[in-house]
């Protein structure tokens, strides 16, 4: 079995904020914490996935979530995923499948075979779970297949699969017509999760505690929104490179005071940087949006490369898994489970009404358009990770729709004074191609050549505008 060869350690990415720099140790502490919790046997640990709006339920019942996508990402960032991917391949899984899942399955199978952690497991390794909570959402097939596949090596570890659909955007339909039965279903699914966890932990849900945790999450959501909106400032005080660190409290630590406090500190730090006029890059020339795709975790240094060309990333769609709750018009309820279900639906349908008002728009496209305008974006960068259909299919089409609005020719718009104004709305885009953790798909030279060419395009557009 192929294994053991690790890639050279990558150069550490420079962060723009102290908050982002504090994330690495935080994640390490979290991983070692799960190992310790398991060893002490005080708490149950469960494999699970991010963006399921179930953290509050976990924490109210003192279940420790083990975010398996996170561990795979760590293996990728440490350039130590290949040996686990190869192991999964040798078991019969195709490399074309989700490499997060392959890495996790390869790791689990190895740990089960050895009866202990594989040699030099990143940060001590991924703990054996007491149970696994998968989710069959409207998207991400691997979420309901990954743990099922892992059960081949851990047949004694039970799975509970929750279904969390949302109504897909359909141009000719008001999604409110169907929200009622979607909500009822999600509530039932979440209540099923509560019952499963109660059985596993032998505890009863404390609904007052759950309500407090939901409230804490809600406040964190709004705080994150406020914090990230500060990045509209020019120069931009924090870029997407840092946001790939600060996604950790958003996605892995929700419903904890620590996550809330993290964003209190980050907000303060950004406000101070803005007051000092301090940007992510010293001389900000271009403002780019990370418009889609999970990052290549082993190549986060590419953000520094963009920075070296004067390009900053004030906004990204990836991992910004919150939206302002005060703009959602969620029905009032005292039942925290019902609220979680409404919040889930509110998040996924957040852009629907706006999209309907703009011909040719669609929720993902509408979000891009809004943020292009709000964050004064000069260009869009996307990443196509070959192994993930969930977050990457549809990106080309979104750029195609955007190109209908942002044309490479001057267009006339009605300005504030009611006068016709000639404006250039050209918006170049760049699609980078590799993978989330499979480093064999990545070429630093090719990637940087593409970035150079893109920056030249941005420069030429700026020169033309000036002319």
């Amino acid at each position: 079995m192929a294994e053991e060869q690790k890639e050279a350690k990558p150069k550490k990415r420079m962060t723009a904020t102290k908050a982002a720099a504090s994330i690495g140790p935080m994640v390490k502490e979290f991983i070692t914490g799960t190992l310790q919790a398991k060893a002490e046997g005080k708490y149950k640990v469960a494999y699970t996935f991010i963006v399921c709006h179930h953290e509050e339920i976990f924490r109210a019942l003192d279940v420790i979530p083990v975010w398996t996508e996170n561990f795979a990402g760590i293996c990728g960032a440490k350039r130590d995923a290949e040996r686990f991917l190869q192991r999964a391949e040798s078991l019969g899984f195709s490399r074309s499948l989700c490499t997060y899942a392959l890495c996790g399955i390869g790791f689990d199978q190895w740990r089960e075979e050895l009866g202990q952690m594989p040699p030099e497991a990143p940060w001590g390794g991924q703990v054996r779970p007491d149970f696994m909570i998968s989710s069959g959402q409207i998207l991400c097939d691997p979420r309901s297949k990954w743990y099922q596949a892992s059960q081949q090596f851990m047949p004694d570890v039970p799975i509970y699969n929750i279904d969390l659909p949302y109504p897909l955007f359909q141009e000719n339909r008001d999604h409110r017509e169907v929200l009622g039965y979607y909500h009822q279903y999600i509530v039932k699914q979440l209540r099923g999760l509560v019952a499963f966890l109660e059985e596993q932990t032998k505890k009863k849900m404390d609904y007052d505690r759950l309500r407090e945790l939901v409230n804490l999450s809600d406040r964190t959501w709004n705080l994150i929104d406020e914090t990230y909106k500060l990045r509209r400032a020019a120069p931009c005080p924090m870029g997407t490179g840092d946001a790939m660190n600060t996604m950790v409290p958003i996605n892995f630590m929700m419903a904890t005071q620590k996550a809330y406090d993290f964003f209190v500190d980050l907000k303060k730090e950004l406000e101070e940087k803005i007051a000092r006029g301090e940007g992510e890059v010293e001389n900000e020339k271009y403002r780019l949006m990370w418009g889609g795709g999970l990052p290549a975790w082993y190549a986060l240094n590419d953000f520094n490369y963009f920075n070296s060309k004067g390009a900053s990333f004030p906004v990204e769609t990836t991992y910004r898994m919150v939206a302002p709750l005060n703009e959602m018009d969620l029905p009032e309820t005292k039942d925290p489970i019902e609220h979680l279900a409404w919040r889930w639906l509110g998040y996924w349908t957040f852009w629907y009404d706006k999209a309907k008002k703009r011909p040719g728009s669609e929720p993902d496209v509408e979000r891009l358009i809004n943020w292009i305008e709000e964050y004064k974006i000069d260009g869009v960068v996307m990443h196509e990770a070959f192994s993930c259909r969930t977050w990457h299919v549809g990106l080309i089409w979104q750029l195609h729709q955007l190109a209908k609005i942002y044309k490479p020719i001057p267009v006339y718009m009605i300005g504030k004074g009611g006068q016709k104004e000639k404006v250039y709305r050209e918006l170049p885009s760049l699609i980078l191609e590799s993978d989330i953790i499979d480093i064999t798909s990545y070429s630093e030279v090719d990637t940087r050549n593409k970035i150079d060419a893109f920056v030249e395009t941005l420069e030429s557009i700026q020169s033309n505008r000036a002319t």
Binding site: A101, A149, Q152, N161, P165, Y181, S387
Partner: protein
Amino acid sequence: MGDKQSHIFDTVKNYYNNYGLRAKELKGEGKQFIGYVCSLVPLEIITASGCTPFRVRGSVHEPITRGDTLLETIVCPYYRSVFDLSVKGKYNFLSGLVIPHGCDSMVRSFSAWSYGLPFSYFHFVNIPSVCDESSLEFFDAELDAFRKSLEKFTGKAITEEHLRQAIRVHNENRDKVRALYEMRKADPPLISGTELTMTLTAGSSLPIEESNGLFDQILTEVKGRGKSPLKKGPRIFIDGACLDNIELIKLVEELGGNVVADTICNGARDHFPKTEMGGDPISALSRRYLGKINCPKTYRENKAGTFEGDIASRFGDIGAYTKEYKVEGAILYVYKYCDPFGFEVPARKAYYQSLNIPLLPLEDVYSSGTIGQLRTRVQAFLEMIG
């Protein structure tokens, strides 16, 4: 082959090669065809609306070109091909298209379809990922919403009686397919896998009554055959997703194998499960499409608590078919980038091992360009088990 027999198979071949021929003719007469992708679209509701369901297919012979300008190449090649043909206008005679939540690619590309194709009706059917009482209740409501959207499109009410009638005629179709599969039990089979796949593919482009008529004629012809069109050879089972082109099956049979059964979407997966008659028709449909269609996309709980028990439950239909059709070897044919099937490959391998059935797992890209490679592998496999 007698004259009459070759005549009916010529008709099938014509419908297969000129896919959509009959739909174009009937469109001229005012009939509306609604395209669908995947086995999870409840066809009975389309039929009950007065429209005709039409299975949109790809082509292994046509290079994917325009489709790739709008849809990522990390989508499974089968779906890419279907999309490519659609954006090139091959199915412009359709009035609408229904896409279910069959996989991530279907979900994520829905806008690319609905904004890019010139149809007046589009609908997305959300299929639950689990199968329990609450998901069936949800699915009832989702199918009712589908019914209402078709009512809005056609301007006509879809009554329970319309639905019952549609269920009846689709069940008849499934009975006829079962009868055709019975012809495969002879050794060698009275109908080849190539003929059967071509027939079922042609049938999915016709109004259900015409499809029933066609299958009746094929049945009569095959029953009247004195001998098999195939020489006796290893009895092969094809396991996988949608195989709407005959090339793989034809290859197996050219190399001496007899393809006798399958789980493929346009084969047993689509046609074997029937809808219960009586009771609420929408509810009966949700139970068929969610509960009975054995697609890896739907998570089935491991009730046994063991891996062996789990695979016996999830893949039990394979075990039953292989026994019923006296299978001697199986080919697991999976498309590259197909997550639902791809994650099941090791478990399926283990299951075939438990049945003592030799297995050839293939990952392919839905292109005639790989036939040469497949030929070598299939030949070696048949020699091994032969």
